[in-house]
């Protein structure tokens, strides 16, 4: 099996079968984590460049661990956001990386479409680790993987994504992936943070989480940023928390086995209460573990040369 593209730019571009393959392959990788030696020699000699234009300890660490557990060499390049305008252009940076013969470029960038630019410029496999407000495909995949561990299938599940949908690449990747696997997706947030015509992505828009709480199987809580208040997207951070923050009171009518997710990092007490984050329904730490397995799976499936099928392993 192989992914059709050389890159992973977004879940929009993957078929249902490809998403299922990535998740299926993540399972044996996750099992590796229980071994004493958590490392396999699969990608020995491959180089993974982690090109990060936004600080992100979690995603970067997760990709780095994933690559290292596959025995690939990793190199991190951090570029500050200010130098996007002043410094070397993205294309020139990427051409330099190409000249260094990297096999993978993992890109995190604050602007939508940046991963496409890199993909068009370089022959290495590009993995989008989040571009602006566009997509964060490995987060979407790890969220689906985590849901699948708790629920048997995605089809028919009621999944709500709550928070700043407008600016969220996590929301977009989740919406594409979940819809392809047949979930019913709800987006919940202040009207100012719901992007235009999002219902065309086959989601139901709500502004009151309590009205739909009883039917939800999964709730994915997005991080809310303080700067949105300065942009007048809501009056105060406190008002946002009161209306959209998830606490045990808001969950009082929820199903017993509702799965509670958060891509992290959390603003405890803002979009999620500590009690909810620590509850038995929370899979937030599981998401972190699964993130590594998903990223290993993606690296593995995007690797491979062009030498045709194996001859010598046919027994």
């Amino acid at each position: 099996m192989k992914l059709k593209q050389k890159d992973l730019l977004g879940l929009e571009y993957l078929s249902k079968e490809e998403i299922e393959l990535i998740i299926q392959t993540a399972k044996p990788f996750k099992n590796l984590f229980t071994r004493t030696v958590k490392k396999v020699p699969t990608l020995r000699g491959k180089t993974v460049v982690l090109l990060f234009y936004e600080p992100s300890t979690r995603t970067r660490t997760s990709f780095e661990l994933a690559a290292k557990r596959l025995s690939a060499d990793t190199i991190g390049i951090s570029v500050s956001a200010s130098s996007v305008v002043k410094g070397e252009s993205l294309i020139d940076t990427v051409k330099t990386i190409e000249a260094m013969k990297a096999d993978f470029v993992v890109l995190r960038h604050g602007m939508s479409g940046a991963a496409h630019i890199v993909s068009k410029t370089i022959s290495a496999s590009v993995i989008n680790a989040g571009d602006g407000m566009h997509e964060h495909p490995t987060q979407g995949l790890l969220d689906i993987f985590t849901i699948l561990e708790k629920k048997e299938k995605i089809k028919g599940l009621n999944v709500a994504i709550i928070g700043d949908i407008l600016h969220s690449r996590v929301a977009r990747s989740n919406i594409w992936g979940l819809n392809k696997l047949g979930a019913n997706v709800f987006v919940v947030g202040p009207a100012t943070l719901i992007p235009a015509e999002i219902e065309k992505l086959n989601v139901e828009v709500h502004h009151n989480i309590e009205k739909i709480m009883h039917k939800l199987d999964v709730i994915n809580i997005l991080r809310i940023q303080r700067e949105r208040q300065e942009q007048n997207l809501f009056p105060t951070f406190e008002e946002y928390s009161e209306i959209f923050g998830i606490n045990s009171y808001k969950l009082r009518n929820a199903k017993n086995d509702i799965v509670i997710m958060h891509p992290g990092p959390m603003n405890r007490g803002a979009e999620i209460s500590s009690e909810v984050a620590e509850s038995k329904n929370s899979v937030i730490t599981e998401q972190v573990t699964n993130g590594i397995a998903i990223r290993m799976s993606v690296l593995y499936l995007l690797a491979g040369g062009d030498g045709g099928e194996s001859e010598t392993f046919n027994s």
């Binding site: 044996p28 699969t42 491959k46 690797a303 491979g304 062009d306 030498g307 010598t312």
Partner: protein, 181 residues
């Protein structure tokens, strides 16, 4: 690549006899089963291992641990082939350190699978010994690897392919030689 069936070289009855012989041979040559564990290589080696283990368990009245090993992540050609092989489960729910392992596969050909399996096993622990049991040895080794127990020696050319059909996957047990085209 199409394969054209050439001939059946073993029937289900013959296979059953061979499996029994392999079981006896292993008990005999390893002087008992007290320190013995089996590891079958995905996919068909797992089922050959299970069958041999169940025969030995019947003979000795002892329970013998049997694990499965998927060597995909230890292959030496992952960076070259165009299609990534499906990664299957590796499940070794026991400590292999100090054990006598019998590694089982259906067909031994180049030896590359066994090389990968040995590397992977070492990452799990430090067994006392590892012996190799294969159902068919078709020759054509590319690495210095030899089996300790062989069901059938059946040297064929590179243009031929051998398949051990098992009733767990296929309609019935048999061993067939194919011509590649």
């Amino acid at each position: 690549m199409k394969s054209i069936p050439k001939k059946v070289i073993m029937t289900d009855k013959e296979m059953s006899i061979t499996l029994k012989r392999l079981a006896h041979e292993i008990i005999e040559r390893l002087h008992g089963v007290n320190n013995l564990v089996f590891i079958g290589i995905q996919t068909r080696g797992v089922f050959i291992a299970k069958r041999v283990v169940s025969i030995i368990e019947n003979i000795t009245n002892k329970t013998i641990p049997c694990g499965t090993l998927d060597i995909t992540l230890y292959r030496d050609d992952v960076n070259h082939i165009s299609k990534q092989p499906v990664v299957q489960e590796t499940e070794i729910p026991f400590d292999i350190t100090g054990k006598d392992i019998v590694l089982v596969d259906d067909v031994l050909y180049t030896g590359r699978t066994i090389r990968a399996a040995l590397d992977e096993l070492i990452d799990f622990g430090r067994p006392r010994t590892i012996k190799l049991a294969v159902f068919i040895d078709r020759g054509g080794r590319e690495l210095p690897i030899q089996p300790d127990f062989v069901g059938l020696n059946y040297p064929i050319s590179k243009k031929e392919r051998i398949s051990v059909d098992l009733k767990e996957f296929d309609e019935k047990d048999k061993v067939i030689v194919y011509n590649k085209e």
